[in-house]
């Protein structure tokens, strides 16, 4: 027991663990400077907000967020994507927007438009890093502060949908996003799982999070549902089977569909291509289109 250290003074904790330690100074230390006069209504023009969640990592939240945005665009909608995965921001690469700069305007930051028509806009910590390999090694409070800024200080403008991509879990980023977005209307959630029981185990907890925080779950998407061998067309359940349907059954949440493993989809995301436009014959296309259709038809009613 190391001696000589006075017990911490009693304090109403804004930081349960006591003061921020030097361990919190790793990584990009500077948060973006808050806008001097942020527009109070930066989300006033957003019609529907949809969080894409999973208790489990690597199930395809960013994939589904990206493909949903692309599909909604092809259906004539204006879409914003807010990437609150601060440690692993995947969306810029998936939309070929890596390295783009973030500019300021009177109402705050301008989100990055990923297409010439300006129908998909994106904000991600990925744009704020000096190098793509730079690690964001922040504890909760600093992550919360940036997420708040992403919500209130970005001039999102008129959007049909704001899709919020999240990291796995039920922690700081999720609570910060929900708290910051809540004043702007009912929040929808799309929950992603894979067929495995191990995923279902984590995703059940995410559904509890949704219930506790008042998110309207639009539906469950099962990703990585089987792989059809391109050589012999045998379908193999690489990551087990049945998880999505089981989750829907256990929780009474609508099952929106199963997306098969599709190397063309993975490759599109790697290269920042528009899978929905370029690969309509590919195995994952029908499921992704159908899921987008269901979001279009059901989300407005659920989120009104």
């Amino acid at each position: 027991m190391s001696g000589g250290r006075a017990a911490p003074a009693q304090h109403t904790s804004t930081c349960e663990d006591g003061p921020v330690s030097h361990w919190d100074q790793l990584g990009p230390c500077s948060l973006p400077v808050p806008v001097a006069h942020p527009e109070p209504g930066n989300l006033a023009g957003v019609r529907h907000i949809l969080l894409v969640l999973s208790g489990k990592g690597g199930v395809g939240k960013s994939t589904i967020s990206t493909e949903l945005a692309l599909a909604l665009r092809h259906a004539g909608k204006k879409v914003g994507i807010l990437d609150v995965d601060l440690c692993g921001p995947s969306i810029p690469r998936m939309l070929r927007a890596q390295g783009r700069a973030v500019h300021q305007c009177d109402s705050g930051w301008v989100p990055v438009f990923v297409d010439q028509e300006q129908s998909i806009s994106l904000m991600s910590v990925g744009f704020l890093l000096e190098s793509p390999d730079e690690a964001v090694v922040w504890r909760g409070p600093k992550k919360n502060a940036l997420i708040k800024q992403f919500v209130s200080d970005v001039a999102w403008g008129q959007l049909d949908y704001l899709v919020v991509d999240t990291p796995p879990g039920t922690s700081d980023e999720h609570m910060a996003a929900v708290e910051a977005l809540r004043p702007y209307g009912p929040l929808g959630a799309l929950v992603v799982t894979t067929p495995q029981a191990v995923s279902v185990g984590d995703v059940r907890r995410e559904l509890t999070f949704c219930r506790k925080t008042g998110l309207q779950v639009v539906g469950i998407v099962e990703n990585m549902s089987g792989f059809v061998c391109p050589h012999c067309t045998e379908c193999t359940n690489v990551f087990s089977r049945g998880g999505g349907a089981e989750l829907a059954r256990l929780t009474g949440v609508p099952f929106l569909g199963s997306v098969p493993l599709d190397p063309e989809l993975t490759r599109s995301l790697e290269e920042g291509r528009d899978f929905i436009r370029d690969f309509p014959q590919s195995p994952a296309f029908p499921a992704l289109s159908s899921i987008a259709q269901k979001v279009l038809s059901e989300a407005p009613a659920r989120l009104s």
């Binding site: 330690s21 919190d24 692993g88 390999d133 409070p141 922690s171 061998c229």
Partner: protein
């Protein structure tokens, strides 16, 4: 509300408690008194506890879903196959504790006499219970796991982590900083979307001075069980882990093919090393485990500089 002032200079700083942004912070007096700069006593306590643990290995990845928990579990199984080797597996993925399921445990903590497991999963009363905790509370749990669990005499303590570079990772490294971590095994899958996150994890390890034992590339190639032809479900568009390891001069411990047996065994809570021992994936795992044992056997970790003291 758990926030600190945006311009918080950090407790170790000369400006602690004195900076302009400290005004109004409830911890201002504490910081100004210099008490905040003292190291957490738990670090010493954990160092004492860890004296009976020979080797400590972190399993990390910047990316989720690449197989950290799967790998951690099977590393533990593989090491514990020698009944004279005492192994423990600590799951610090507080929000998504997969290890109990993968190890086939419903609350009991021993898989075998020589293989024990600790996870927040054991503390939850229902499978629907969500752990909706902010960083400081997660850190407290990790401290408790490391300091208050009676680890006993162990040959290996394997620490499974959630994806990312945040509270859990900082806490694990911070609390083990005085206890000589052997190193980290970093898991990835072949595609660039994973590698771009994994490079950040590697940078994190360099920053916090955790040695890197090596990288494991999971889900490398899929062999169709019917026609036996190979497909790359997660294509290595930028050369996969092999090129990344060459660029960053880090050992590639091995590549594990994508085998549906692995997922099935994990769902059943069984070791796929015993379920499918002759499979290419099992052989790859065994070779990787052997390389890790060799690393631990040959490397005496340097005395870690006690940060903050």
């Amino acid at each position: 509300m758990e926030e600190v002032p945006q311009g918080c200079p950090g407790t170790g700083s000369a400006q602690a408690g004195r900076g302009a942004s400290c005004q109004g912070c409830p911890n201002q007096r504490l910081c100004a008194s210099g008490a905040g700069a003292a190291p957490d006593p738990a670090i010493e306590e954990i160092k004492e506890k860890m004296k009976t643990v020979k080797h400590k290995i972190l399993v990390l990845s910047g990316k989720g879903g690449v197989g950290k928990s799967t790998f951690s579990a099977h590393l533990a199984h593989g090491l514990a196959e020698d009944e004279n080797t005492q192994v423990a597996l600590l799951d610090i993925d507080i929000c998504g504790p997969s290890i109990p399921k993968i190890m086939g445990l419903e609350g009991e903590q021993f898989v075998e006499d020589n293989l024990g497991v600790m996870s927040v999963g054991f503390l939850l009363s229902s499978p629907d219970d969500a752990v909706i905790w902010r960083g400081p509370k997660k850190n407290g749990m990790i401290k408790q796991f490391l300091r208050d669990v009676d680890w006993g005499e162990l040959d290996y303590l394997i620490v499974d982590t959630p994806p990312g570079t945040s509270d859990e990772h900082l806490s694990a490294v911070q609390y083990l900083s005085a206890a000589r971590l052997d190193g980290a095994v970093i898991i990835t899958t072949p595609q660039e979307v994973s590698l771009q996150d994994v490079r950040k994890e590697i940078n994190f390890c360099h920053k916090v001075k955790v040695p890197i034992i090596g990288v494991v590339e999971n889900m490398s190639v899929f062999v169709c069980p019917k026609c036996k032809k190979e497909s790359q479900i997660f294509p290595p568009t930028t050369g996969g882990a092999e090129v990344m390891c060459q660029d960053l001069k880090i050992p590639l411990l091995g590549k594990v093919p994508l085998d549906p047996h692995i997922g099935k065994s994990c769902d059943k809570g069984q070791s796929f090393l015993t379920d499918a021992p002759a499979s290419a994936a099992a052989l790859a795992y065994r070779s990787i485990i052997q390389r890790i044992q060799e690393f631990c056997g040959h490397h005496q970790p340097k005395e870690e500089h006690l940060v903050g003291s």
